[in-house]
Symmetry: C2
Subunit: 403 residues, 2 copies
């Protein structure tokens, strides 16, 4: 009998009606002769409401107690869903993480799942019970309640799928899959039927917030097949596999963009070892997340220019950090806060020559100026003026036959 892990996010269990609907989805899968473990998030809005309570006590609320507070949200959903299943005749039980237990290590609010005991739940599944496990939480070695970061229910689902050796892990959410671009802005964007873990990672780090990236990474590491699908329609979702299992007919799978970036350029930086570190170490200490970094080969072998991008709301902090740090030497510091990053992503581009050229030519034809370029094996990103964002995405979506 195939074992399935089904994960339901906050909007999927956001009201009692939706919980009743989720119970029907589970019943359907259970009746199709699967063993089911369901992972649930807190009802949408709950975690924020609990966070708000903690913030009105302290902006620096004790992390151990914050985890005790927040995990109550998933506990509520797990009990309601188990109760709803029992009501429609499906044997079911909620399993709080300490009852299993799911062991974590690392600090509160940011723990990692390291192990879980399978015996009680395996026994329960074999007795034809549906196990409901609250996501996002765990237990530390000394018996404290921990959480594994916002969006952590995806990580719980993948870890459970791995440790219980599930056939598949289905992520039910409020979108019906991964699209070739943002369907709200690019009406011709299409749902992707199959995608590799790498591509999914590149797309989700670019704002396609369908799944938590670290959960995709874990699934990739252990080769756990994922499927992202909608709780609210019966349509097929997007399957996420190992690259080898995908037959690429197109060089590019999707076009993604992020609009809240800013670009900083240091002109006339000394061209010697350790210079880049001297710039980025103080930024990292200030929790500033640097995204793209471009450094050209020095033409005079003495100085070079370094360009990098950051989130726009980190701009002031970044400029201040650079100016105040006496170890960073440069001739000129410039910035542009009205830029966006456009990326084409596709595992197929490895075997297709001319993708880079085609991208640049398409943008040139629209008279869009490229401010910086960065490439990886399955992604090409360019920084352009923010005003050109949608024009560029539409053009590339069409140029790579995604419409």
């Amino acid at each position: 009998m195939a074992k399935k892990v089904l994960k339901f996010g906050g909007t999927s269990v956001g009201t009692i009606d939706r919980i009743l609907h989720v119970a029907q989805i589970i019943k359907r899968e259970f009746d199709a002769d699967h063993q089911i473990i369901a992972i649930v998030s807190a009802m949408s809005g709950e975690t924020d409401s609990l966070l708000k309570k903690s913030k009105s006590i302290s902006n620096n609320f004790n992390p151990r107690e914050l985890d005790v507070l927040l995990t109550s949200g998933e506990q509520v959903t797990s009990a309601l869903l188990a109760g709803a299943l029992i009501e429609i005749g499906v044997k079911s039980k909620s399993w709080q993480n300490w009852q299993i237990p799911i062991l974590t290590e690392g600090e509160n609010s940011n723990a990692r799942i390291i192990n879980m005991n399978v015996s009680k739940i395996e026994k329960y599944l074999s007795e034809k019970g549906v196990a409901i496990i609250p996501g996002f939480q765990g237990i530390s070695k000394n018996g404290d309640i921990t959480t594994i970061g916002r969006g952590g229910s995806d990580a719980t689902a993948v870890a459970v799928a791995k440790i219980f050796d599930a056939e598949t892990c289905e992520i039910y959410t409020d979108v019906d899959g991964v699209y070739s671009s943002d369907p709200n802005k690019i009406p011709v964007a299409k749902k992707i039927e199959k995608i590799s873990y790498d591509e999914m990672l590149e797309l989700s780090s670019l704002g396609a917030k369908v799944m938590q990236s670290s959960a995709v990474q874990t699934a990739m590491m252990y080769n756990i097949p994922l499927e992202v699908k909608s709780t609210f329609t019966n349509r097929k979702g997007t399957k996420i596999f190992d690259q080898q299992n995908i037959d690429y007919t197109k060089s590019v799978t999707g076009v993604a963009y992020s609009k809240d970036d800013a670009k900083i350029t240091l002109v006339g930086v000394q061209d010697k070892p350790g210079v880049a570190a001297s710039i980025f170490e103080p930024l990292s200490k200030k929790q500033i997340n640097v995204d793209m970094v471009i450094q050209n080969i020095s033409s005079d072998h003495k100085t070079t220019d370094i360009t990098f991008t950051i989130k726009r709301n980190d701009l002031l902090k970044t400029l201040q950090t650079i100016k105040e740090n006496k170890d960073i030497h440069y001739n000129n510091l410039s910035h542009d806060e009205k830029v966006s990053k456009i990326s084409i992503v596709g595992a197929g581009m490895v075997s297709t020559p001319g993708v880079t050229f085609k991208m640049f030519k398409s943008l040139a034809r629209e008279n869009i100026n490229i401010l910086a370029i960065s490439t990886s094996e399955i992604k090409i990103s360019v920084i352009i003026s923010e005003n050109d964002t949608l024009k560029a995405v539409k053009k590339l979506h069409n140029a790579f036959d995604l419409d």
Copy 2:
């Protein structure tokens, strides 16, 4: 160093501001060199809101999952209060019942605390930590979450006080003590400084809903001194002791009443063994709670009359049950749904002759007709017409020098 158990009810922790205020109360007691264990209820309204969620799934929501659901309320309060204490510089930790653990037996929703492990919390107290324990909950032997009935936080507080051998158990609530009568209706009612467990039990079963009765019983059994006091004022509360420690200057401590009663009389019931049982067994099976029962000595040794009172909203169900039951024989069935029960309560009445006579005479002077009488060692209750309720209470309050 004296150990104190402080219990804070739902209204005492009903908002973030109130939780911050409760943290200050605890800090004051902690700074006065006490070891503190605080027991907390769910924020007021929370339990009802969770119950409502379960009811919109099923009127017969699975009891195990209901307990998982409801205990999230106290978990939230415990985390917020521990966080609030840490914020004002008091070392504190929330302890969920499974972390202690507090063991219960009996069915879900209605379990009883049978034991708890003291080692971890004793160690924590000796390290100058304030332990916050969610009330109302426990763990069954097989590791399920249980609850011990509505109002169960009082029971948790008394059990913790007993097992940790606390010097006192203080019940912080939204009233500042136990009154000689309902202060909202009888403005001359006074706060009682000291009261015995028995008197407290009689008064609280009569609607003075200051504390859960079974918690008072437990405190009485183990002779744990209680104090009921207000979270919102600094005034002294009402101390609840063993009778021996109270010096009675008055025969009557308080006058209580309940207005939602109904009276039923069966005329011409056979006067032979087993008749009363044949009436009350079917009522008990229908979950109808019978309060006063009066049966007079039979004058003709053949038939007698039985009068009893029930809650008014059980009236129709009760009449129906009696009429439908073929084993109950009687000549006539009458009922009166506009009655109320007036009780005078006082451990001092045992040693004061004439209390009963004084009560009846006072009522007679006001032209109030007594429909039924029932007495115990420390209580005399009469059933009268509902319209006379306040007049009777005021008269008795004055007659027994309570104004």
